[in-house]
Assembly symmetry: C2
Homo-oligomer: 311 residues x 2
């Protein structure tokens, strides 16, 4: 039997999993991400953790394909991270450093792209070689798989779809410094903002007015309970999501759009909502796209990471 390791490097924890070469996950564990001193301990900690697993399980190095790792930043096709604020990193040659620390082959990719590869391989995107994973969380991220391979782009910034402009007339500023990005309407934060804006500008009664703070889940729950304001806000959101997805489809003509991240927990009503509006925005030749919810949850990253090294 041969083995591979998948590593999902996040801002607070590192998820590590060992797989056999058919892609079955054998074990999964976590270590903290220590970002002190510009994150200098992060890669040594990962290397030590993997090496101790190898030793404890009496695995010989000849049996190991290597380590795949997803990193929260732009990673170019040589596995070099331009920089990563969350980790304190400047330019870092992840593949080279981690290979030196472990003696194993290493492949690195952007975390969202790697998660997309995971969903494509073992999750909702299974069987579809051309797919886009859209992650609707605090922000909006994306990963693109074409012909079964991750798309990195010239500088590792492919799939930064959260910063496509949806509303050129927006006055508020996105986290990226621009105005009108998809993230401002389709993220959990964006949905809450749209709800608050609506409540400010309209006198209509709503169960949301009774809440001290409004969360994204509150908006979906209120809509499920037939709150007219929440339903109206979500129709706005679904229209933005539909326009957003349609524009991605006009570029890529993917076979499948997989929606993940915290907002995707809204489930079927989210898919139905997008489908109600997509016809207005999608080009007919690209309209064959399927929509699904992500199925691997937090494991998409380690699956995609190990796939990098098994390929």
């Amino acid at each position: 039997m041969h083995y591979g390791f998948g590593v999902d490097l996040g801002g607070t924890t590192v998820k590590i999993a060992c797989f056999d070469d058919s892609g079955t996950m054998l074990t999964k564990w976590e270590i903290p991400t220590v970002t002190d001193n510009n994150g200098e301990k992060i890669l040594p900690d990962i290397a030590a953790s993997v090496r101790s697993y190898i030793k404890e399980n009496n695995i010989s190095f000849e049996q190991i394909h290597g380590i795949g790792i997803g990193v929260p930043g732009a990673v170019d096709k040589d596995g070099i991270v331009a920089g990563c604020d969350n980790l304190g990193w400047g330019r870092t040659d992840v593949q080279k450093v981690l290979t030196e620390l472990t003696g194993l082959p290493v492949k690195a990719g952007n975390d969202a792209t790697v998660a997309a590869l995971g969903e494509c391989w073992k999750g909702s995107g299974h069987g579809c070689d051309n797919m886009v994973l859209i992650t609707l969380g605090t922000g909006v991220g994306g990963g693109i798989i074409l012909d079964g391979k991750p798309l990195y782009g010239t500088r590792g910034a492919a799939g930064e779809i959260g910063h496509m402009v949806l509303n050129r007339n927006e006055t508020r500023v996105c986290g990226c410094g621009k105005r009108g990005c998809a993230e401002q309407y389709c993220s959990a934060t964006g949905i809450v903002r749209l709800a608050k804006d609506y409540l400010d500008k309209n006198a209509a009664d709503s169960s949301l007015r009774k809440l001290e703070t409004i969360t994204c889940k509150d908006v979906f729950d209120a809509a499920a309970g037939q709150d007219a304001v929440a339903k109206e806000v979500l129709e706005q959101v679904y229209a933005y999501m539909a326009e957003f997805i349609a524009n991605i489809c006009a570029v890529l003509n993917p076979g499948q759009i997989v929606i993940g991240g915290g907002v995707s927990k809204a489930g079927q009503p989210l898919l139905d909502g997008i489908r109600r509006h997509i016809g207005r925005y999608i080009y007919h030749a690209a309209a064959n796209v399927e929509f699904n919810l992500a199925s691997l949850g937090n494991d998409a990253g380690v699956y995609g990471a190990v796939k990098l090294i098994l390929d």
Copy 2:
């Protein structure tokens, strides 16, 4: 020496060129596109023309790599055209039919995608493996090259960027049936429409008012002559183009955007105009993109087509 043929199949003429295997164009000629009877003569006419060239030049079939052909419609990765209104075609297996008619290997691709491959190989995109050709003509088309290879998409509709939505509030209908497509603002037709709208809604004096019919070139010429209305209209157009290009870059992070089609004859002022606005719309990680004008003109199609078969 070995040879390859590049064919650019258009609605009124078919351009055919013979290349040596280093990609040097040896001869180029045209035949009319006969669309009678659902375009049934088109492929036989192309086959006859290529075969007579081969015979006249005493080329043996062993010396020929084959024929690459660009077709004005969605072409899937197996070379099958779903349908093509301009030619009168329904579903057509271009590769199979043209191989049967010539005895040569054939590769088919969408015309815009094939033109992009041509610009990438021998034109303005030379040296850049990740590029997008945007064709600003009567409509707006696009071709995407990633890692030096054309992107087809699931059903051959990748690169249909002219139908990305730029203005969700548009009331007029695009040729595709949707509202607010990039084509409605960035094509020659769209630029003329924006100019007419501006003249209708504003009382400002303009040299454009003296013209019986306004063409796209008239608008650029008037702007070059410091006509304030034309300049204002083009600033609107450049802002739309910048938003359009920025959204493509957020998806793909290309190294280069090459702009072709009739509108690109405006030249440097067009590139400068887009550059004045791009900063407002482009995500910083994708902002390394270069802009260039297409350089192969009408030959991009035959260059890209032969590249399909030489690869």
